[in-house]
Each structure stands twice: as C-alpha cells, then as structure tokens.
C-alpha cells in the first residue's frame, strides 16, 4: 500500500495553499469547521451556476434539475451512512437537528419524564434539553465525566431510571476527543424504553461508520465539520420513529394539505423541512461524502493517530501543559485540548496565530466540562487527513513560545 500522503490531500484544498498573510496556514481548527476540497467547491458552483432554483415546487427545467440534485444529495448521504433516504432530514446543522428532536419528541413527553445527557456535552446538546425541561416540566439528568475525559458509563445504572425517555450523548467529545461506546448506552435505554440520540458532529468527519449498528434512534451531525459548506446538517432518525413524531417548524414544503382550519403534514423527511432548504449546501454535502468515501480511511485513521501521538508526546515536553482528556491513543479521535498553567487559552491561541497556526482557544461551547476540570477554557488542536507533521510541529513550537511568554 502506498504511504499515506497528507500533502496530496492538502493540495485539493485551495484555502490551505496560503493563509491570510500569504504564508501557508497550519489549520488545526477542524473540530470547529473543516475546510472544503475543490470537488465540493466545484459541486456547489456547478449547482449555483447551472441548476439553481427552488425544489419540490416548480415544473420548469431548472426546478426539475434542482429537485433532482437535492433528492440525489439525500440519497448520497443515505448511501454513505448505509440507511434509507426517508430517515435523512436536512437541517442547518447539528444544533438544528437536536432542536428538531427536542421539539418533536418533546411534544410526546410529560411532566416528570427524564432526559439524560452528560457533563461533557457541547452546549448544543445541553441547552435544547434544558429549554424542553422548562417548557414541559421534565427532569434533566447528567452522566458524570471521568478523570480521563470520557463519559462515565458505570453511572448508567444510577442515572438512567424508569422515567427516562431519552439519552442524548456526544458520540465523540469536541474537547477531549474521547469516543463513546454506544452499546451500553443503547442497552440501558432499551431496558427503560427510552430513545437514544447521538450527537455525531465530531465523529462524522473521521471516516465511515455503521450507523445502524450503533443502536441509536437519532443521529445528528453538521456538514461544515466534514468538508462541506456551512448551513447544512443532518438529522437521521429511524423512519418508523420519525413517522410517529409531529413536525417542529411549520410552513411551506412540510405539508400535505392546508385549509384555513387545519393542516395535514407530509411524510418524513419533508415533514421536518419547513421552508426552502439549504439546497446548494446539501449538494455540497453530497459531494463531501463522495470525497470522504474516496479516502483510504484505514490509512487516514492510522495517520491521524500517529499525529495525535506526536502532539501528546510533544506536550509532555512542555512544562505546565496538561491535557484534558485521554492521554493515550485508544478510544479517541485526533482532538487534543490542553491547558497551560498561568496562560489564558485566548492568549495562547493569539500567539499560535503568529506562528500561522489556526486552532481554537476558549470553552469550545462546553463550559460544564471545563468546570469539571476546574478550568475556564483550553487550547484545542483538531486534526483532519490533510494535516501533517509540520502542522503538529508548528503547533508545539507555538505552544512552547506561548508558555515562555505568558508565564
């Protein structure tokens, strides 16, 4: 097998050729937004310049072409995930997908019912459930996080009760990089008759997955973290379950028939896609999954693991650097968050920017997790297949510089 060549992959990403000042950027902020390859850019431009029209409405040829492209995008995403298209709801992103479930499933819940999340969730998988709990008198419970930055599944027996109606957890943490084993979660949920939602925003960019084998009922993710445009995301739901849920947003496109007295709703997935959808972005997402499917993920995963090890080894040589999360390579993705003693993550990230390193500093929309570790924020490097040793080395050199200058 040919050696994995991140430079060849990087060459497919125009933005990675030069940064804002003309120098090549070491882009390590992939957990926030990954970059788009030329194939995705081409697909979006092709649609917007040759097929642009609204979908499911007009009978003219552009509308037909746009509708075919949009439906084709749904089919492409479904194929990639190994599911049927009727379970694929296009949303604006992970947050919108989770909010859709919070409202649609939430309509079926009663006061006293319980929702279980964890201490390491992104705010996008905390706040919608808090809001739902307030609206309907539900109880929100949280699984704790271990010292290694993983969800403590030994607490499932204690936290998941007979009143539990949904367990909503991150498939992978956007801070610690820890990957959840969903099997015990699904088993605990099934034992109580509860549903499972996985926030797949961080897991989905790191290669194909067997969605149906996860044992979840809902899976939410964003396009922009998987090399697609902003403004597109997916809520996958078990088709039978989606069919039993009421809509969330009302409007055009999600109806069967409207009179002034009442409305009957379309079948899923259109029931959950009120208004004009993000058509061009959906076509970009389809191009992104095709692009992802073309990578050698065994090699890419090994490559990311090796780079993660290089980061962890390098951090161990920087005095006062502490990793939040697993310190080993098992059960994790290439997402590493670090706290530098005496240095604020915004200051660290600003200094890293002077080294042409783009990474994230702050709480990463995971304040409860940072509170769990007694810190206000962290500096995060997150990997994609286009990253190489030089990116990691620039990150480590910048971090050492920040440590020296800020203490």
């Amino acid at each position: 097998m040919a050696r994995f060549d991140p430079a060849a992959i990087r060459a497919q990403f125009p933005i990675l050729a030069t940064g804002p000042d003309g120098k090549r950027v070491h882009y390590l902020d992939n957990a926030a937004s990954a970059q788009m390859p030329q194939a995705v850019l081409d697909a979006v431009i092709r649609f917007e310049t040759t097929q642009r029209a609204n979908v499911h409405r007009g009978v003219h040829r552009l509308a037909e072409a746009a509708t075919n492209a949009y439906d084709g995008a749904r089919a492409a995403v479904a194929r990639y995930l190994g599911v049927t298209p009727d379970g694929i709801v296009f949303t604006s992103g992970t947050t919108a997908a989770i909010n859709t479930v919070a409202h649609a499933l939430g309509e079926t819940l009663s006061a006293g019912d319980e929702i279980v999340i964890s201490e390491l969730e992104h705010h996008g998988n905390i706040v919608p459930w808090q809001m739902l709990a307030q609206r309907r008198g539900l109880v929100l419970r949280a699984l704790p996080v271990t010292a290694e930055g993983t969800i403590d599944l030994t607490a499932l027996d204690r936290v998941v009760t007979k009143k539990c109606r949904l367990i909503a957890l991150a498939h992978a943490s956007n801070v610690t990089g820890a990957v959840l084993d969903p099997a015990p979660v699904a088993a605990a949920a099934r034992a109580m008759g509860a549903r499972v939602l996985l926030d797949g925003a961080q897991r989905i960019p790191h290669g194909p997955l067997d969605l149906l084998a996860l044992g979840c009922d809902f899976y939410a993710f964003s396009g922009h973290k998987m090399f697609a445009p902003h403004g597109i995301g997916v809520l996958w739901g078990r088709p039978d379950l989606l069919a039993a849920l009421p809509p969330f947003l009302g409007g055009g496109g999600m109806i069967e028939q409207v009179t002034l007295e009442r409305t009957t709703y379309a079948t899923p997935p259109r029931r959950f896609e009120a208004g004009t959808p993000p058509i061009g972005a959906a076509i970009g997402l389809a191009a992104a999954v095709d692009w992802i499917a073309g990578l050698d993920w065994q090699a890419a995963t090994e490559h990311e693991k090796r780079l993660t090890g290089r980061i962890l080894d390098g951090l161990s040589a920087i005095t006062g650097a502490h990793v939040i999360g697993p310190t080993g390579l098992q059960g994790r993705l290439g997402v590493v968050s670090v706290v530098l003693d005496g240095a604020h993550p915004h200051d660290v990230s600003q200094i890293l920017d002077t080294h042409n390193v783009a990474c994230r500093g702050g709480h990463h929309c995971a304040q409860p997790l940072h509170a769990r570790f007694g810190v206000n924020g962290s500096t995060r490097a997150s990997l994609a297949p286009y990253n190489g040793d030089d990116d990691v080395d620039a990150f480590l050199a910048g971090l050492a510089d920040a440590a020296a200058r800020l203490r």
Partner: protein
C-alpha cells in the same frame, strides 16, 4: 501584528494586577461575563462624595482583560462615574475606530492600540470597564 498584543507594557500591567482582590464592605459589587470565552470580571467599589474611594477586582480572564483591570486599579480611584464612562468611550474609539489620541490621565491605555486590529479581542479589554460602570451605577442607587 498579533505580536504587538503581548508587548512588554501589557504584560507588565497585567502582572502588576493593581487593585486585584475583594473589598470587605463594598457599596456595590457587579460581575460581568463574556459569553464568547467565559471570562468573568467582578468589581467591588466604595464611593465617597460620588467619587471612587476604593475598588477591587477579581478577574478570571486573559492577559488583555487583566491588564485593563490593572489600569483601572491604578487610575480609577478618585474618579466619578461620568469620568469612567468618558474613559471607556475613548477606549472604545481607540479599539473600534482606531483613534490614536491618548486618553487624558490614563497613559497605560495607549498600549491597547494594537488590539484594534483584533475585533474578537475588543471585549477582553472593555469587560473590566463594563463591570466597573455597572458597579458604579448600582452604588449610585
């Protein structure tokens, strides 16, 4: 450009942490958060004849935020609320309009001029002023 943010004057100001701490019996205490980064500034004030007699700040924030709070610690005592509002307006103009006029009586604030180029960091500098002005408003009632 970003290197300018961490010039010696800013670092020295932050490390001096003038006014850091808590007052035992403040006339008012206000806490302000920056939702973007989770930073938090708590400001205690005591007034005499509508002027700041004493103040103390507790900052959980970045170097820029700590430096701004330290400047407040050294320059704000003896000022009125109106004077502090004027200083903040001058600082906002420096950051948002890139003015280079020194702020009368507050020479340290000139060190924040390079922050103008970094919009995401403006609130880091302004957060302690926001906390102080809210505390002064509360103390006035």
């Amino acid at each position: 450009m970003s290197d300018d943010l961490y010039q010696q004057a800013i670092t020295t100001l932050a490390k001096a942490a003038t006014g850091a701490g808590k007052l035992e019996h403040p006339d008012a205490c206000e806490t302000v958060d920056n939702p973007l980064c989770g930073d938090r500034v708590t400001m205690d004030v005591e007034l005499t004849d509508n002027r700041i007699a004493r103040l103390a700040h507790d900052v959980r924030g970045c170097l820029l935020c700590r430096a701004a709070a330290s400047a407040i610690g050294s320059r704000a005592p003896g000022r009125t609320a109106g004077e502090i509002v004027q200083v903040r307006a001058g600082l906002q103009a420096m950051l948002k309009l890139c003015t280079v006029d020194p702020i009368d009586g507050w020479p340290e604030l000139t060190a924040f001029q390079p922050v103008a180029a970094h919009k995401s960091r403006h609130d880091c500098v302004l957060l302690p002023f926001e906390a102080l002005i809210r505390a002064l408003d509360r103390a006035a009632y």
